[in-house]
Amino acid sequence: MTDTETEAGLERPAARRAADEPPRPRGIGPLGWLRWAWRQLTTMRTALILLFLVALGAVPGSALPQRPQAPERVTKYLDDHHTLGPLFDRLSLFDVFSAPWFAAIYILLFVSLAGCVVPRAVHHYKGMRARPPAAPRNLARLPQTATYTTDESPEDVLTKARAVLRGRRFRTDTGGAAVAAEKGYLGETGNLVFHLALLGLLFALGVGNLFGYKGNILLTEGKTFANGLNNYDQFSPGRRFDTSELAPFSLTLDDFRAKYELKGDKRGQATDFTGRLRYRTSPSAPEKPYDLKLNHPLKVGGAKVYLLGHGYSPVFTVRDAKGQVAFQDSVPFLPLEPRNLTSEGVIKVPDAQPEQLAFYAILWPTAMASSDQKQIVSGFPAPLRPVITITAFKGDLGLDSGTPQSVYKLEGLGKTLNPIKGGVKLLEPGESFKLPDGAGTVTFDGLKEWTTLSVNRDPGRLPALIAAILAVAGLVASFTVRRRRVWVRASAGDDGRTVVEVGGLTLGNPTPEFDAVVTALRGEPEPAETQTKE
């Protein structure tokens, strides 16, 4: 491959280019084999194959459910596919991007990249400091050439050439009767920066995975969250995470507001979510307000807090058979459908006497009759006419058995926990339901909203951003800047005039700059007789 055939910024050093099929080693010992393997690994062909394998390997990561993103869908997949499921699982196809085989591919790729880029960087650094290569003997054979005669002396021509080329920010060197000049190192520099930045990006990703943490919490209006391991509903630390990295901040959700489109065929579509927070960076720090919105995370104590989802938490007061308040709190309900937020939830009242009470309830934020008039549905996601249907149970909640329970599900239904006969009722806010047989009363006091918040800290965030910006800048430089060489030779001609030969070599396509250089050298307005060879 010659220089003229190469596109700007895509040139490779000899190591990558030539080693298409290095000779197989014969009786060269382990060291020889290692060198052979290294040379194989750093060839462009290997790099291309590895690139392709990375792309291919990523595909199952989009086609199959992935554990880090959707563990419940992985479980479902395993339930539905009894033969393929376990096989896929053994191949780590449900967590492709942490799979050992995927890591093997990208580590090989990055080793191959480093093996190519690092020697190139050294070579380039030396090249930038070395003198521009001396003029070839025959300048007329270069892709861009010009010849003219002048009355100036050869020395004057060369002095002028140096000045012109330096003025155009070429590096120049005079050897014999010729000036050699070179510029456009930024192209290769950009190329190297791009590749090294990719290594940096991988490093930043690793740092984030090792030292960061991520957790989710559900917070109902009026409640406070203090940053601590036990207060998370879900928490996934990095392998090298240390609890001391949990900054001691706390936040209180005062009010959550969702806005919806009220008319037209997009009626019911959410247009804005705002969570009004008060937060402290530490227990002794002053409290500050913050409006948490999508796309506007709260930065606090090195962590970021995001608004994820929202739903309703109806507030209930339960009195037991003795008339004592056994329960009074908001209970988060989970949406059954995302459009109009029909939600379900359970209320567990372990303190009720003589028997424990439990309720299963469905909430319609805007209750209305379905089109066939047979059931209640929710017609709008905002609580325009909230109605709850409640089903009462009594017996043993099973909370003392020691096995952890979900707060969204009743355990032991039909066994330890039995429905109360006639214990089903529709309630609107403020209404009470007196349970049959004097088992107690339940009051639907009103509706609050909850929001799920994601809290995370990723120390690799900033390095990743810097690496990414460097990568793009390097890429653009490598695609736009080309290395250019110009040689000017002046010698005395037969007729006493000075013959000036100018030759130009540009990596990639010739640029019009060469013509400008020649015109400036001649110092004449008329166009020089330049030639560009195809």
């Binding site: 989009s62 990703l205 979510f273 796309n295």
Partner: protein, 316 residues
């Protein structure tokens, strides 16, 4: 004019755009098939030399010919320009109707991609005189607009709150621009592969026939590379800006969402193409095939990912 009128106007302009593009496409085809003979050599030279710097020569003017013959080329280019203006107006009126950037759903997104592809074509038309691509790019644009209107149409309205960010102007615009460029590069690459097979079969171009108006494999290859070299950094930037946005919206700058996976796959395969293009033994046919695989991944990222997988990019 209120927003309903503007939305209505946008839909009407869409029809105008499609009609203009269809007629332009037929004109380009007619130009390729039996257009006036121009100095084709000059056209080819321009593709070769004009790149990178200001154009060095203008295409030779066509010799005077009898007036009654239709100048398909001029007709096609005029219609394309008019269609492009109508297309621009579609986007502007839609944007005004909804008071936001007009790429918030799949209909608007695909409409914008078709616009980017036409814009990229107009750029290569002016810069490299690549008129031979006209029939193919307008065909792609007509198909895209057809799909957008028949299957993806969505009435004007607000977007989900997650999309309410200035990043939509940056991230999505970059993705659209790169996709437009890749579409033009894809057209040139397909022509390259067909021409390459034809050349291998030593077919002779009939003077004045279709193939005499298509540049050599070398020039097609070079044109495809140039356009890809524009699209690739823009695509890289689109992915990175998406990551920055994701970091603000989803709490993680990279979470292997299906859209992210396929953007990554597309990026990797285009990177492989750019490397292959500069490697002995891989340039030419193999590199061209890689470029088409990358383009297929790009298309799959648009259609497949949104309709087959569920992920955080499911805004359709």
């Amino acid at each position: 004019m209120d927003s309903a009128d503007l939305a209505n106007l946008s839909d009407k302009l869409m029809l105008t755009t499609v009609v203009l593009y269809i007629v332009a496409m037929v004109s380009y085809a007619a130009d390729l098939g039996f257009g006036r003979r121009r100095a084709e050599a000059a056209v080819e030279k321009k593709v070769l030399v004009g790149a990178g710097g200001p154009a060095t020569e203008e295409p030779a003017e066509a010799p005077a010919e009898p007036v009654r013959r239709t100048d398909w080329a001029r007709l096609a280019v005029t219609l394309t320009a008019l269609g492009w203006l109508a297309h621009l107006a579609v986007l502007v009126t839609r944007g005004l109707a909804v008071s936001r950037w007009p790429w918030g759903n799949m209909y608007e997104f695909l409409t914008a991609i078709a616009f980017a592809a036409m814009t990229a074509f107009l750029v290569v038309l002016v810069r490299f005189n690549a008129r031979f691509l006209g029939a193919f790019v307008t065909l792609a644009a007509v198909i895209a607009l057809g799909v957008a209107n028949i299957w993806l149409y969505d009435s004007a309205g607000p977007v989900s709150p997650a999309l309410n960010s200035y990043w939509i102007a940056i991230h999505v615009t970059a993705a659209i621009t790169a996709t437009g460029a890749f579409t033009v590069a894809g057209c040139a690459t397909i022509l390259y592969l067909v021409r390459e097979r034809r050349d291998a079969a030593r077919a002779v171009d009939a003077p004045g026939g279709f193939w005499s108006r298509v540049p050599s494999t070398e020039d097609l290859d070079r044109l495809a590379l140039r356009v890809t070299m524009f699209g690739f950094p823009v695509w890289t930037a689109a992915i990175i800006m998406g990551a920055i946005w994701a970091d603000d919206a989803w709490g993680s700058y990279w979470s292997w969402d299906p859209k992210e996976v396929w953007s990554f796959v597309t990026w990797i395969v285009y990177a492989a193409y750019l490397h292959a293009r500069a490697t002995a033994g891989w340039k030419g046919r193999k590199a061209a095939v890689l470029s088409l695989i990358a383009f297929a991944a790009l298309l799959f990222n648009f259609f497949g990912v949104n309709y087959m997988f569920s992920g955080m990019h499911s805004y359709a």
